[in-house]
């Protein structure tokens, strides 16, 4: 063992942190090395200061358990409050969902090409049109006009480019 290795072990030796074998090797080195012995002697005062405080009794303080217990109970109650099942919210949510589904289904059915209300969705009223914005073809409108009760309105829509002069 050289002095560099020994000095690292000295710092552990002063705190009794070496194995028996390490201690024996170090002590045999220290027996022949005055420089390392003086290094070890330098450690005595600081280590004595540390160890003097080791066994000092802690300052008396009141138990923290009442406060800890209170906090734990608060957390538990909060946990139970937030996890409670709210039937009213669930019922309102289900009703809203059903209403939304029914509305969507009805809307899709009315938008189907064979539907009688299709023309109302496909053809905007005259007041909603803007000049040059929409140019319906005769063929597409005629395909809807066969079963439509509003054939006069559809016919007007066919002639709409002329009717647009009203604007």
């Amino acid at each position: 063992m050289n002095c560099t290795q020994a000095r690292r072990l000295i710092h552990l030796h002063v705190g009794d942190d070496l194995t028996l074998t390490e201690s024996q090797i170090l002590e045999s080195h220290l027996a022949d090395c005055p420089a390392c012995c003086s290094q070890q002697a330098r450690m005595l005062r600081p280590m004595a200061a540390l160890h003097a405080l080791r066994d000092a009794a802690p300052e008396p303080s009141p138990s923290v358990w009442p406060s800890v217990s209170s906090s734990i109970l608060t957390q538990i109650r909060l946990h139970h409050t937030t996890r409670r099942f709210n039937l009213q919210v669930a019922a309102v949510s289900v009703c809203s969902l059903l209403l939304a589904v029914v509305t969507i289904v009805q809307t899709l059915q009315s938008l189907r090409p064979g539907s009688t209300d299709a023309a109302n969705y496909w053809m905007p009223t005259q007041a909603q049109r803007l000049p040059g914005q929409f140019q319906p073809s005769v063929r597409s409108v005629a395909s809807f006009s066969q079963n439509s009760p509003n054939s006069a309105q559809l016919q007007h829509a066919v002639n709409w480019p002329h009717g647009a002069q009203d604007f």
């Binding site: 220290l30 005595l44 004595a48 923290v64 358990w65």
Partner: protein, 228 residues
């Protein structure tokens, strides 16, 4: 036994009041097992068993009593919240001290960040107590000097030194508390003691130059068995 599943039946009494005389046969593992199942009183017994030691460890880092008390409570609260993460195959003590030391180091880091921009910073004299006895005042002197020197060490080394040399934890426990290997702790411990010695000697030289009579009386003997 009070279960957490029924919070309305809980009250705030000390578990020691119910179980006084304390059931010495109840092992720590059993208490931890019960606490993990939600037994409020079992956790209370663990708190009562460890609180003095936790307070003592935190006091090594922080002087202010209120802060020490707050951090102690926070440590136990966090332990309770994380009981399900605790590995029952391991010991409860090091796990609890790990939480406490981590919280304390986090607090010190936050304080340090704030301290850079504050007008006043804490001094080691805060460790002084009000005791008037000669022995206490001599110990206070050493305490102040040791704390002053400890503050000069980097946090990782200071923590190891405090846990091993001031609190007397074995190297394996220090490794468990700091979440490092035992070899790392041994290396850090050797370095920390060397740093402490150097800082201690610098401090002594400074004190000696300013006032030759200001040197605290330190017991000359080394309590460790390793001393020659």
């Amino acid at each position: 036994m009070i279960r957490m599943s029924d919070p309305d039946s809980l009250n705030l009494h000390s578990p020691a009041q119910d179980a006084a005389p304390a059931d010495n046969s109840s092992s720590e593992a059993r208490l931890v097992h019960l606490a993990r199942q939600g037994d409020h009183d079992a956790f209370g017994q663990l708190v009562l068993r460890y609180e003095r030691r936790v307070v003592k460890v935190i006091q090594r880092f922080i002087a202010d009593r209120e802060t020490v008390s707050d951090l102690t409570q926070e440590s136990f609260l966090r332990a309770f919240q994380r009981l399900q993460q605790f590995d029952p195959a391991r010991r409860f003590g090091p796990w609890l001290f790990k939480l406490a030391v981590n919280l304390t180091c986090d607090h010190l880091r936050r304080q340090q960040r704030r301290g850079r921009w504050s007008l006043f910073s804490s001094r080691p004299e805060e460790w002084l107590t009000d005791s008037a006895s000669a022995a206490a005042s001599r110990r206070d002197e050493i305490t102040v000097q040791v704390q002053r020197v400890l503050l000069e060490l980097p946090e990782a080394y200071r923590t190891v030194l405090i846990l091993r040399d001031l609190e007397g934890f074995c190297t394996a426990d220090v490794a468990a508390i700091t979440d490092r290997t035992e070899a790392t702790i041994r290396w850090r411990l050797a370095e920390a003691r060397k740093m402490f010695r150097d800082a201690w000697e610098r401090q002594e030289r400074r004190d000696h130059h300013s006032d030759p009579n200001s040197r605290p009386a330190i017991p000359p003997e080394l309590p460790s068995a390793g001393a020659t």
